[in-house]
Each structure stands twice: as C-alpha cells, then as structure tokens.
C-alpha cells in the first residue's frame, strides 16, 4: 500500500539501536530492577568485606567475586527478559516483521552491555575506595574483564532462555547453569587442586577463565599475555553463546 519494498538485510544498526533503546526504556519503567542490577554486586562486595575481615585475603578474593557477580546477575536478567518476549508473543510478532535476528541480539547486547558498565563501575568504585581493596596496577584491566564477564553472562542467559518453556524454568537455569560454574571456577577451591575430572569440567566452563583473568590481574602490575589469552577465551565463549542464541531463535516454529 505504501508502494515501498523493504529489502531485508542481515543486520541493521538502526534496528539494533531501536531495540537497545526499547530494552532500556522497559528498564527505565522498572526502577526497582535497575536499582537491583546496579546495586546488588556492590552490596555483595560490602558483605564480602565483612565476612573476610583479613585485608590480605580480601585483596585476593574480592577481584574474583567482581568477575563473578555481574556474570550471574546478567545471566538471570537476560534469560528472563528473553523468555518473557517469547511468552508474551512479542517475539513472534517481531519475527513476522522486518527485524533480523542479529538486530534483536545486538540490541539486547548493547542495552545489557551498557547496564553492565554501570554495574561494574559502581562495584569497582565501592571496592577500591570504601572497602580498601588494593590492586598492583591500574583498575582498567579489572573493569574491562568485569564488563566482558557481564556480557558473557548476558550471552549465556540469552542462549539458555531458548531451552526454557516457562519463566519458572528460566529462573531455575540460574542454579542449574551458573552454580556448577561457580563451584568449579576456582572461587572456592583452586583449579590446580581439583581432581582431573573436575579440572577438565572446569576447563570447559567459561566462568573459570573470568576467575583466572582476575587472579592474574591481582598478581601482576601490568597486562600480560596470559590475561589476553583469558580475555580471548571469554570473548570466544560470548560469541559462541550469541551464535547459539541466534540459531535457537527461530522465525518458524512448530
């Protein structure tokens, strides 16, 4: 009727941007969720500070937790948001419209990535000033790794949501997907002291590399090639999870 033909492209930055804006607007209407996303990691760090009263121990473990908390929170937020989109029928509506799957995933990535930056900024400021966590070098490597962990958590959450038929199941993916990683990532027991089977499991789970990277950052004043390798693995897991998310996001469903 408008006489125009919209040519479908694989990716449209304008549509990804519109989707990111839409997701952020949804969050803006829900201030309690924003407050929790931003404040919970910082509050947990404060709690950790008083649980671990020894400042030497705190300096060692705090960075590991800074890598894990944003991952966990972004996982659950992304899994539930996507599941809701399926359950409400808006995903089906979008799939019948000229929106590419990558536009949708990138939109989510941009929106939650920005939220992750705010989240990590707050947890770092609280930890490095008020809680007195000290680092051998600058805080930038830690901020970079923490944001990448949050984005990884989001990508895993998007992918996991494809396997949840209900919001209730999506919530339970948190303990099912995330807690085993938290047990095996080196947070509780050093990865070097694990039995071969556990160590092997630990090696194939993404959160292990987040903790590894944080450990190296606390051990060295400068960026090392080992940190680069960990970051590369985190990025590879993120890309794989996003590709998995795109593959499980089907235009046609039975």
């Amino acid at each position: 009727m408008n006489g125009e033909i919209t040519v479908s492209r694989a990716f449209s930055p304008a549509l990804a941007g519109a989707t990111a804006r839409r997701v952020l607007t949804q969050l803006r209407h829900d201030p309690r969720t924003i407050a929790m996303m931003v404040a919970v990691p910082a509050v947990l760090m404060i709690l950790l500070r008083y649980v671990v009263s020894d400042s030497l121990v705190l300096n060692r473990v705090a960075p590991e937790y800074i890598g894990v908390f944003p991952f966990v929170i972004m996982f659950i937020v992304a899994a539930i948001t996507t599941q809701r989109e399926r359950a409400r029928g808006t995903l089906e509506r979008l799939m019948a419209m000229p929106l590419g799957k990558l536009d949708l995933l990138a939109g989510y990535g941009i929106a939650f990535g920005l939220m992750a930056c705010v989240q990590v900024a707050l947890v770092l400021v609280v930890s490095l000033t008020w809680l007195g966590v000290t680092l051998p070098g600058s805080a930038v490597p830690m901020a970079v790794v923490a944001v990448l962990d949050a984005v990884l958590g989001m990508a895993c959450g998007l992918f996991a949501s494809a396997f949840a038929r209900t919001e209730f199941q999506a919530v339970q993916f948190m303990p099912a997907f995330v807690l085993p990683q938290a047990l095996l990532c080196g947070l509780i027991v050093s990865r070097d002291h694990m039995t071969p089977v556990l160590r092997w499991l630990s090696d194939v789970l993404p959160l292990s590399y987040a903790v590894d990277a944080m450990q190296r950052i606390t051990a060295s004043a400068s960026w090392t090639s080992a940190i680069s390798a960990d970051v590369a693995i985190i990025l590879a897991f993120t890309v794989a999870a996003l590709i998995g998310g795109a593959l499980t996001l089907r235009r046609r469903t039975p």
């Binding site: 919209t6 409400r88 029928g89 808006t90 089906e92 799939m95 019948a96 000229p98 235009r251 469903t253």
Partner: protein
Amino acid sequence: MKSAESGDGAGPVVSGQDLVVRRGGQLVLDDLTFSIDGGKVTGLLGPSGCGKTTLMRVLVGVQTVTAGTVTVLGLPAGHPRLRARVGYATQAPAVYPDLTLGENLRYFGTVLGLRGRRLTEAIATVVARLDLGGLDRRLVATFSGGQLARVGLAVALLNRPDLLILDEPTVGLDPVLRRDLWSLFHGLAADGTSLLVSSHVMDEAARCDTLLFMREGRFLAEASPAEILKRTGASDLESAFLALASPERSAVRQ
C-alpha cells in the same frame, strides 16, 4: 498507488496448494487447497482448536510447514519482502506492557521501516482509527482488555499493510467496540486492503464478504455468506455450519 498483485478484487492475494501442517505427530492442517480474494474481508470461522491460528501463522511465515505451497501477494509465504507488507495481530495483544502506548508504537513502527515524520503520521493515523487518543503516555500494563486489543491491532495497521491477518480480533470485546472494529475492517477493505479475520463466534460470520468454514484442519465451505445459506438451505450461518459439519462427523477418519 497499489501494485497489481495486492488486490483491488483482482484475483487472489493468498493461494494455498495441498498445505499440510503436522505438529507433534498430529495433523493440524489436512491438505488444504484454497485462495483468498483481494480487497475483501474474508472470515475464517470454526471452533477453537480447528487450525485457524496455525493457518494464519503459515501465512505470516512463522509456522513450520510439513508439505504444500502457499503464495502470499505473489511471493512464497514468509518471504522476507512480505514482512513489511503483511500485518499480523495475534490473539494475545503481543505488545510490551512495561512500555507506554507511544513507546510501543514508535518501536514497532521503526522495526517496520518508518522513520521521522512518516512514523509520527503513521502513529497519529492508527491512534485516531482505533480511538486510542490521550493514552500515549500511559503504560500499556494499565490498559483495559478492550484497549489492549486495540493496541495489538494498531501495531498491525501501522505501516498500512496490503494484507492484514487478524486472529480473533473481536473475541471478548463489548458489542459497541466489536461493531466499530468491523466497520473499520470494511473501511480498510474499501481502501484496498485485504483482510483475513478469524473468529469462533458464528454471529460474526455474517459481517464478512467471504467465508472459510473450518473444522478439524479442513475447510467445510469457501463461499459468501449468502451462497452458503442458499447451498445449505439453513436460516442462519450457525445452522449452516452445523449442517456442513455433521456429514464429516459421521464419517470417522483415521
């Protein structure tokens, strides 16, 4: 303005050939061959669970098809170029309750390729057509059932599609609103839009230009209300449907 393939009553806008859809081993659409004329309001009538929604999902390209071919506006159903030309409203409103009306319309309008002044005008048009004035800044979550149904339709109308597929758009609405929506549908058809409207309420059948009577994944009749009444000798369309359905019932199918 209108392209030849989009209708004006000139030939079918949708045609299906031997369409079969199986879902979980169950035959949902049983070898359907049909066509839908342009520039008319075609009613898809039948009891709940007879396959109406599945057929509509096939036409918009979100349903996995087992066998057969379906052509929509001269292209295979689900073709990327159709996504901006076919409007679709599901039974559930499929909009974001945590966005305002204006935010919903702006996001879906952008996805449909509208920008700037064209977007603003398109929104003003659907808001006026569906009597949603003054609700722009209200969260959709606070809307009544009738308002929600109209928001779902407003999104489908945004980019003035050539073909509108509306799944039970008037079910559960008050009589005044139902009458207004049917006059809107006929107004759109008079402007050259083709509409396929489903319902399980037989008293809506008389409001359609053409009818597709459906039962258990098959068509019982494809004709105008007057012709169906004449053929069955029934006094109203409900009795006509029952008369058409009963020989099917006695012939037990495998």
